[in-house]
């Protein structure tokens, strides 16, 4: 696999402007003749479809939900970062760039991150003009807050529903283009495969989820904005339908998959209550600003939290990290929660939880102020757990939340297959080994509003793309393969449901490739996952008919891919024999037990290449170099 990241040379501050100027444009009168296929309507997909539609291209937009407005970007709570420096508190594009590279533990490309920081300001302008109701100060100007331990106040927000408001903004812009006739929406339509003709991406195979009809769509370029694969863990904060299939199909057609083991486990989620649990709910990590995290000092202390006196409590984050305390980054907070629970000091029925206690903040500031700050989160917690967080400590536990890994893309966001572009969480580009809070929304919109609408036209105008119809050989073959896969799944007629396999897979991954990983565990997973996959293909049961709305079939088709994604995650985790960001290898730690990078051997992105079914994939490397931010050991002591 040839890995050419097409990084710009010269000063980083002007790199994107120079790249844009060097790119070829498409004559306005020719744009309507070009068809761009966009899969997914989250922040990246909806904003890319709207923006390319505005430019005059013929855009076909696909989503599995009943409306593009429902994509899971909608669930993001906290906010979106931008380097506006409205607070005059020392923020700048360079500082946001610096914080993001450092937060990603020096595993992201400098040029990409700099562009992201630059464009962050345009995003706020764009969304404000669209009518996104951002929080305001009394003077009518935009309010910001500090988030995720950042020392500057750069996070713009709309109450606890920032993702919703940004997505509805992008959705509105998209619907405006539907009305203008430049974009056509295919809802309840799921991508099953990518079609490649003469080495370039020319279309997709999809399934109409109501009629079950499988058909193909041809175009000049394909953009995947299909989100992350955190649902490989079964229990995650993702939507039930979120899946990795589109990206996985692309990988199996030759696209490189980068850093699959970088999976973010978010520390402040509501713990699992039983086997029936279908998903996990995240609560904004802003709670850690005023809540104190603790567990009993003694193993197996089952007294109710309020009856445990001060001297029997262990505020372990404050004890171990006196400077940052409860505000340590997500990966550190999550790992420590796991550690105390592994020691048998976890709380709640399952013992998999830690206390998040507001007693002292309520004493200090009064219940009113805590209510003003977090009222909606306390309500949400009470709705789910039937407990009053003002009176007894909340219980939290980490949950799979976001993936930094994804399809490899170059500076133009093009994958290793020409004509296949990838935006948002689906690509691997900007967050390195760990994503900072309020940066996912920024990246999705940056890719969709500003990067893809510049780079995709350049591809179209510099490539020779002969007219193609979807009854050509390659399309028919791809449709045939998709149909026979569905038929095969329908005919297994085994004894276990898709969910039961998925749950078992998730547990394997969580236990052996979750917050802490070691060689022995990963090797165990590499034996267990293929065995489970084999059983799946022998013993899964799909009821109903394939030519009908069949949610079990949709599920089973996604789980079949998760079974393979899981193995790649573990392979990547095993090969990366260092700790970095969210990837913690127990063998690689500092004397104090913290994550220890190995820059000499692992300062690179691992780009996995499909080598055939049941063959070990090939691990390629894209070396990283740091000219502006000097790699250092992260320390939160």
């Amino acid at each position: 696999m040839k890995i050419d990241s097409r990084l710009p040379s010269g000063p980083i501050e002007t790199a994107w402007d120079r790249t844009k100027f060097e790119m070829k444009l498409v004559n306005p009168s020719n744009r309507g003749k070009r068809t761009i296929i966009i899969v997914g309507t989250g922040l990246a997909g909806a904003s890319a479809a709207a923006s390319l539609g505005e430019l005059g291209y013929n855009v076909l937009s696909f989503c599995y939900q009943d409306s593009p407005r429902r994509a899971h970007s909608i669930a993001a709570q906290g906010g979106i970062n931008a380097a506006k420096n409205y607070r005059n508190d020392g923020d700048s594009i360079f500082r946001l760039f610096y914080d993001t590279v450092k937060g990603g533990d020096f595993r992201a490309r400098e040029a990409n991150v700099y562009r992201l920081a630059q464009l962050s300001n345009n995003i706020i302008d764009q969304c404000t003009a669209q009518g996104v109701p951002f929080a305001r100060e009394y003077d009518g100007l935009l309010d910001t807050r500090s988030f995720g331990g950042a020392q500057v106040s750069r996070t713009f927000y709309s109450r606890g529903q920032t993702g919703q408001q940004l997505l509805l903004g992008a959705y509105s812009a998209l619907m405006r283009q539907v009305k203008a006739g430049t974009v056509r929406i295919f809802s309840r339509t799921e991508m099953l495969d990518l079609v490649i003709v003469n080495g370039v991406a020319r279309g997709i195979v999809v399934r109409n989820m109501i009629t079950g009809k499988i058909f193909s769509v041809a175009g000049d370029a394909v953009i995947l904005c299909t989100g992350g694969y955190a649902n490989t863990f079964y229990l995650s904060t993702n939507a039930k339908g979120s899946n990795g299939s589109a990206c996985w199909r692309a990988y199996k057609r030759g696209a490189g998959f980068a850093n699959p083991c970088y999976t973010q486990i978010h520390p402040t989620c509501i713990p699992v209550t039983g086997e029936h649990q279908s998903k996990l709910t995240l609560m904004s990590e802003s709670l850690r600003n005023d809540g104190r995290i603790w567990v009993p000092k003694k193993k197996g202390d089952r007294r109710p939290a309020n009856e445990i006196p001060e001297e029997d409590r262990d505020y372990y984050l404050e004890r171990k990290y006196p400077t940052f305390g409860n505000l340590v980054p997500r990966d550190v907070a999550s790992r420590n929660a796991k550690q105390v629970c592994d020691e048998g000091r976890g709380v709640g029925e399952s013992g998999l939880g830690v206390n998040l206690d507001f007693r002292d903040s309520i004493k200090r500031f009064g219940v009113q102020l805590i209510k003003e700050r977090y009222g909606n989160l306390f309500e949400m917690y009470e709705k789910i757990t039937a407990e009053d967080g003002y009176k007894v400590p909340m219980r939290i536990y980490p949950a799979a939340h976001y993936v930094m890994g994804g399809l490899w893309v170059d500076y133009h966001l093009m994958s290793s297959i020409p004509g296949l572009f990838v935006g948002g969480e689906a690509n691997f580009s900007d967050h390195g080994a760990n994503r900072l809070g309020a940066s996912a929304l920024m990246q999705g919109l940056c890719d969709g509003y500003f990067v893809l609408p510049a780079t995709v036209p350049h591809y179209l105008s510099t490539s020779s793309l002969p007219n193609i119809s979807d009854d050509s050989k390659e399309f028919k073959e791809a449709v045939g393969e998709a149909e026979s896969r569905i038929k095969r799944l329908m005919n297994i007629n085994g004894k276990r449901t898709a969910d039961s396999f998925h749950r078992e897979l998730g547990k394997l991954l969580w236990n052996y490739c979750g917050m802490a990983r070691n060689e022995a565990g990963l090797k165990k997973a590499l034996e267990a996952i293929p065995a489970l996959r084999e059983e799946f293909w022998q013993n899964v049961k799909v009821p109903g008919d394939s030519e009908d709305l069949n949610q079990s079939l949709e599920k089973v088709n996604r789980v079949a891919d998760f079974m393979e994604v899981a193995e790649l995650i573990v392979n990547d985790a095993l090969e990366r024999k260092e700790s970095c960001g969210a990837h913690f290898r127990e063998e690689s730690r500092t004397e104090e037990g913290e994550a220890k990078r190995d820059d000499a051997n692992f300062s690179h992105a691992a780009v996995w290449e499909f080598a055939g079914d049941n063959k070990k994939p090939i691990r390629n490397i894209e070396p990283l170099s740091f000219q502006y931010v000097k790699p250092q050991q992260r320390s939160y002591k």
Binding site: A50, D125, T128, R136, G140, R176, A239, H276, S500, P543
Partner: protein
């Protein structure tokens, strides 16, 4: 937990397709934990149905945290069930009694044809937004964000309206199957902001027309929509939409389609 679990009798609407007539089917579930969400209870039932060789009940759901608007069941005669300000996915079984009979239906509204079982087609809502639920600013054309100050109260009111998740509960609850609360929420969200002013009148006219064209009924002030709304969107926005619509009608030519 297994000994303490709840037993429930369920009466669930089954319908093979939009052309099928459909009808209620009775089910029983046992060992239901009060900590389960309503949809997790249905998951348990579906797993049982699949293993017994039947076809599971189709229902829409996605985020399961009350924000995507995908889920929506008519539970014991109320959209999203007995708890106010709550979507079906955030409703928990502790809101029900052991041994209770629960009736589960899809949204009932002519403009929302049933697709299968509890799934309906809500694409009419997309058509209303398409008619004008946006501010016409193309990417790249935006001025510096702080050049448009917005009074804090206006921004807050706008956000109150913008919280709508587009689930359709307001329409399912309304005796007239009116989409006024949904439409008013979008018109008010944009109309309360300075950025939304240039298209305000045109927007009111075209969105109301799209709403009527889709076959939704008119508002006769029952207020059921607000009571059913999982995000507590207020009917005051309907009054606001009516004001916009009337004043636009007096001063603007209706848009020609």
């Amino acid at each position: 937990m297994s000994e303490k679990g709840m037993k429930l009798n369920l009466k669930i609407w089954r319908q093979k397709s939009s052309k099928d007539k459909g009808g209620f089917v009775d089910y029983k579930v046992e060992n239901i934990s009060p900590n389960m969400s309503f949809l997790e209870m249905l998951d348990v039932l579906n797993e049982k149905i699949i293993l017994e060789g039947g076809e599971p009940i189709a229902f829409d759901n996605d985020c399961r945290e009350g924000i995507c608007g995908m889920c929506g069941l008519y539970i014991n005669g109320r959209p999203h069930g007995p708890q106010s300000g709550t979507t079906t996915c955030q409703l928990h079984m502790r809101s029900f009694r052991d041994g209770e009979l629960i009736t589960i239906e899809p949204w009932r509204c002519g403009a929302f044809p049933i697709v299968k079982d509890l799934i309906v087609d809500r694409s009419a809502l997309d058509k209303i937004i398409m008619a004008g639920g946006f501010i016409s600013v193309s990417t790249g054309a935006a001025p510096e964000a702080n050049t448009i100050p917005v009074p804090r109260d206006d921004s807050g009111n706008s956000m109150d309206a913008a919280q709508c998740i587009g689930c359709g509960a307001c329409i399912a609850a309304c005796p007239n199957a009116s989409a006024m609360l949904f439409t008013a929420a979008k018109i008010s969200h944009l109309g309360l902001l300075p950025q939304g002013q240039p298209e305000r009148k045109k927007r009111a006219l075209s969105m109301v027309k799209a709403m009527d064209d889709a076959g939704f009924g008119g508002c006769t002030n029952h207020g059921e929509c607000e009571a059913a709304c999982p995000k507590n969107v207020s009917t005051k926005f309907i009054a606001r939409m009516n004001r916009d619509y009337i004043s636009a009608g007096l001063t603007e030519e209706p848009e020609k389609e």
